[in-house]
């Protein structure tokens, strides 16, 4: 059975694609479809319930919640995917180096990684944002640094298993350079678990970005993001439930879909892992 059939037969995969694909399309074309300016205040129409004019109602400054949610997808996804990509590149490079070259260098890398892992993610993120200030690029780097250890450990352990494999020994007999062995021989063999980790990291990245924005350390206002909207909405939770309900629902669905994507990838790319659960 080929990969495409395996994916299309996987319910988790189909569900997550049905959620994530529209989300990405909306993120890309959002500015073209919104009816109201997401940043302009309208003090005459604050905290309105859903109506035909404002489909999901308005916030405390009279801005359209739906429009702000649509515009808010882009920074969230950008930060989460970008951060996961940074983490994957840095983590797999470090892990491959530590695993294949090993020795003192490997020890230094892995202990440094252990230290990063010691911090609770949100605390470390707050520390970094506190030091460097808020902003989208900073958020992206924070997520990149925070999740580098996970990729690094996966790359390290799989590389350790493979470094003594006979096909690697054969490359060394032929006089292949270390770069060639690591990049061309080892990397394709450790890619599957890294891809799985990537989608899990995207889910965690969305969550972390929302968490930081909720605390006011994420996307700087007046630009919206889901976490920031939820943070603002908590002040009105008793009187205007719709304000908090829709961003929260979308956030939950997105994170669920990304996590299920990770599960589906694991089912298909790494069937052995599934059996052990």
């Amino acid at each position: 059975m080929n990969l495409l059939q395996q994916f299309s037969g996987n319910k988790k995969f189909v569900f997550s694609v049905m959620v994530l694909l529209p989300l990405i399309v909306i993120a890309l074309f959002g500015p073209l479809i919104i009816r109201h300016d997401p940043l302009e205040m309208n003090t005459k129409r604050v905290l309105e319930p859903p109506s035909t004019d404002f489909l999901l109602g308005t916030d405390e400054y009279g801005r359209c919640i739906l429009c702000r949610m649509i515009i808010g997808i882009r920074p969230t996804l950008f930060v989460a995917f970008g951060g996961a990509a940074v983490a994957m590149m840095a983590g797999s490079t470090l892990g491959l180096t530590a695993g294949y070259i090993g020795g003192k260098l490997g020890n230094v890398i892995m202990r440094a990684i252990d230290i990063v892992l010691c911090f609770p993610p949100i605390l470390l993120a707050m520390l970094v944002v506190g030091l460097w200030g808020t902003g989208i690029i900073n958020l992206l780097l924070v997520i990149g640094i925070l999740y580098t250890p996970h990729f690094c450990r996966i790359a390290y352990s799989t590389t350790l298993k493979l470094r003594k494999a006979e096909f690697v020994e054969n490359q060394r007999i032929l006089g292949a350079s270390t770069l060639r062995i690591v990049g061309k021989t080892l990397f394709p063999n450790i890619l599957s678990p890294l891809i799985i980790q990537f989608s899990i990291t995207v889910a965690n990245g969305i969550l972390l970005e929302s968490g930081l924005s909720f605390l006011g350390l994420g996307v700087p206002p007046p630009h919206p993001s889901w976490g920031q909207m939820i943070g603002k909405a908590k002040n009105h939770i008793v009187t205007h439930k719709h304000y908090m309900f829709f961003p929260s629902l979308c956030l939950c669905l997105t994170i669920l879909a990304t996590n299920l994507m990770g599960d589906a990838l694991r089912d298909v790319l790494d069937p052995k892992l599934k059996e052990s659960h």
């Binding site: 006979e166 054969n170 032929l174 006089g175 292949a176 021989t185 394709p188």
Partner: protein, 322 residues
Amino acid sequence: MTEVLLEVKELKKYFPVAQGMFYRRKGVIRAVDGVSFQVHRGETLGLVGESGCGKSTLSRVILQLFPRDAGEIRYRGRDVEELDRSQRSKLRMVFQNPYGSLNPKEKVFSAIAEPYRIAGGYSRQQIEEEVLHLLGLVGLSPAHARRYPHELSGGQRQRIAIARVLALEPEFIICDEPVSALDVSIQAQILNLLKDIQEEFGLTYLFISHDLAVVKYICDRIAVMYLGKIMEIAPARALYAKPKHPYTRALLSAVPGAADQLSFERIVLEGDTPNAIDPPSGCRFRTRCPYAEEVCAHEEPDLTSCGTEHFSACHLLHKLAG
């Protein structure tokens, strides 16, 4: 005698053993402990021994996958460490496990093309011609080039490993138990293939195995290894007809169905191989040797001549003659 292609002198490889907290150094495993032999151009030297006796370590030290601790390895009179890349590519290896020796993410074509790509200086077309030529040599069709290793049987994979080893015109090939992972019905095919290409390209083999029947079939001379040392080395025929060393006799006694045809008293080994961290004093085989005497515990026997090109490391050769 023809030219000596590879010469190994007093080669030693020890692995440090570290245990417990903070990896305290506890001792060393003497995987290869003073091994000397020569391989002549065009011959097949068999290397036989139980698992763990240092056969594979020896082969990997020769190919510089592990640094050696002492001794000399000379290829055509030059130390292997001084060889440049093109000379080094004359020394190659066929691995035991055809499932592990091919990169699972790489198609057959890439696997065979890899030596040319690493060496450099070949055009895409040249590489393609060479790969198809080599596939034909080992009895596979060009269609196999587009497959992944997991789509092929063990025998086919070993053929691919052999095609790969033939790239760049090697001279000396170490065959590390090349058929022990295969079905018996496939073993003969692969052995014959190895013999054919040896004849065609004038290759020299160091053939590692624990299967005495296989070794008898393919080897010109045989070296018997025990706990990191060579116990006996002799032409294949002489070794099977008149083994001198008690350990060789024990190995031959263990061949199923051979008990009635032995020219010597049958030896049944008991117990396990002693620990290579702390090998027995004197002769390493004495703890399991039925003939062991006082002298065996004190003095380590050297390989001594006991026939044409026949050497055996035993104190009691004169007593055991027959």
